[in-house]
Symmetry: C2
Subunit: 428 residues, 2 copies
Amino acid sequence: MFKGKINVTRLLVQKFGGSSLADTDKIKGVADIITTAYDAGTQVVAIVSAMGKTTDGLVALANELNSSPQGRDYDMLLATGEMVSASLLALHLQSRGYKAIALTGFQAGVRTEDVYNTARIKDVETDYLNTLLEAGTIVIVTGFQGENSKGEICTLGRGGSDTSAVAIAGALKADACDIYTDVTGVYSTDPRIVPNAIKLDEIAHIEMMELARLGAKVLHPRSVEAARRWGVKVRVRSTFNLNDEGTLVVDEAMMSQDSTRAVAGVACDKNQARVAVIGLPDKPGIAAHLFKTLAEKSISVDMIIQSIGQDGVTNDIAFTVNTWDLQNAEAVLKPILHDLGAREVLLDDNVAKVSIVGVGMIDRPGVAASMFQALAEAEVNIGMIATSEIKISVLVSSSQSDKAVQAIHHAFFSDASSEELVPSKLGY
Amino acid sequence: MFKGKINVTRLLVQKFGGSSLADTDKIKGVADIITTAYDAGTQVVAIVSAMGKTTDGLVALANELNSSPQGRDYDMLLATGEMVSASLLALHLQSRGYKAIALTGFQAGVRTEDVYNTARIKDVETDYLNTLLEAGTIVIVTGFQGENSKGEICTLGRGGSDTSAVAIAGALKADACDIYTDVTGVYSTDPRIVPNAIKLDEIAHIEMMELARLGAKVLHPRSVEAARRWGVKVRVRSTFNLNDEGTLVVDEAMMSQDSTRAVAGVACDKNQARVAVIGLPDKPGIAAHLFKTLAEKSISVDMIIQSIGQDGVTNDIAFTVNTWDLQNAEAVLKPILHDLGAREVLLDDNVAKVSIVGVGMIDRPGVAASMFQALAEAEVNIGMIATSEIKISVLVSSSQSDKAVQAIHHAFFSDASSEELVPSKLGY
């Protein structure tokens, strides 16, 4: 009789964020999680962030001594935070009788581009890691950093430890990459706005990537991109609630059959501003001139809509920028209004972008209609609309954005089971 | 007419201790010192300790997580303190428009033994340092650390930054190595005991080494040993009093002609205890048995005296150990008393070792007599005497040690000019 196979995980990458390592008691808790997996016969590579707010402290010191700290030496400074947490964790595991070693990003074979402060990981050389793991050693690796072709320390930018974990998991072909944080997983929306938001058991990489870009802070967009590229099964879960299995971030094709939802989540980005250039002549090259000028000043543009102006002859072009780019955009556009032949520029800071994301909407033509219907019933006016294969975004007035999110969430998740949530712990 | 030569220093190594880098304002002050030398046309390599009490903080964290932190990962932890101060200093120099770079010990080519926590420097590879210096770059190097043959970070033990500075100065053939600290130099004795102790303008390596071993904390003994080995001219001076030239530590042969003093300093070590083994049989092998037993338990023995016992037949052997070894010594000796054939062991914790050190005493037979005469006049009883080429030590009762130091200092330095001193800032 077939008794079933005991499913032992061969190799697990576990990543622990700063809040999971904030003090020595929390470090002991992390050691519990690691040794539980190790004692069950699993090889473990643990990727660590800096303890608590350590990196913020280093940044503050640097700002006292340099008005715009950057470059090689700034990376040497910032890299120390993870070296402290990694070595402390290794020392603690050793005191419990485990074989453990702390490796810097470069010792662990993490190779990056020749870029400081925001480097991307190019490759992970795994020979040394594999040798250690085969010898039964628990390997602790500093997140957020690697080594460039010159042998210099390069950091990956904020949120980089997630990316380190995913890249190392991918290179080692780990069975999974568990991202331990202070929230229990990825939610259908911000529970501070919708108290009965639901925790998702599963989400596709591409959905997570969009939600992360749209403001869900639980995973850095770049780490999700890396998970997709390296084909890594990522699980987001809480260090402080081990009974909850968290959210599995997987390739779309790997998702459970019963995951038939059209929408994975509702996101709201309040850092949006609307720029409208009014009365542009209807001739070729105008839009190109406009957006090239903005791009030259590194102003990112999101939604774009061109419409026929009120006079029926000229065009209006409206687009959104981040609020922190708004003044810059105005300063760039004012001097070229005459060249463009435009009448005026209108600015609106009181807007928010509300989006739904889901791979399921590809096959479901009614999703957009349901979203607009929900907004209409809630009497929310839609300013702009932009769509992609797996995302629909609308621009609404800031004052109506919470109402918009609630109405849309209700439309798509009303029949889902809700659970008790502590909004402040949910990473939004 | 000969106008004299302008003496430009080609290459200077400057070392800054933790108190000189305790906060961002102090780091700015250190940058002033560096740029003053650089602007005068001197190449500068600055060796830095960790900021203020940073290392103590890291040690405390490690102790919370591991009852005896040690080894490779402890070194990774401790090495971060100097990385922080070095990179901050480089970032600040850059913000002032200087070309500056922060190097870890291993990036700077400091190669150590394969020993963690207390490694010795084997060699300094200077190619990269020289390339940087020739390009006009101010080079900041983390003190206290290097790399072993396996490419791992090794620290040099407490006081190791002084040794880093001296070794790098020696390897680069620097004109001088300035050790910036919070005291103005090396003093003839502890100014808390003798308020008119004088600052020495010059001291020989060998004298400094003995004084450091005897308790003068201003320089680590190992760094003085390195200075002698590498032939480095070391100057100890204060970060906070740049008008004072400090104390020059030089090879005996390089000392000024007018430096005719017999004694460089008077030291007092209160961490001494006396052990007397009474009534030993007068036969070969007894002393060997006794001291071999102590050595096997890693108990260091300092002064040793054998004398004929009160009965005129047996021998007494008295020796000194550090106070923290006294209980251990007793526990080791009690069980072997019978084997040794000894009558009893007497322990005395209330003793202090007072020493005079000076290369000048080699040619002056009257120095010991003057010391004993001074003690006799002060009515201080001498318990034991030990001499070397450049040192005479006596054991006195703890209660009389200050009086002994004062009397001896008066005998050898009474005609020297005294100056205003702030005892708490003198590093004893």
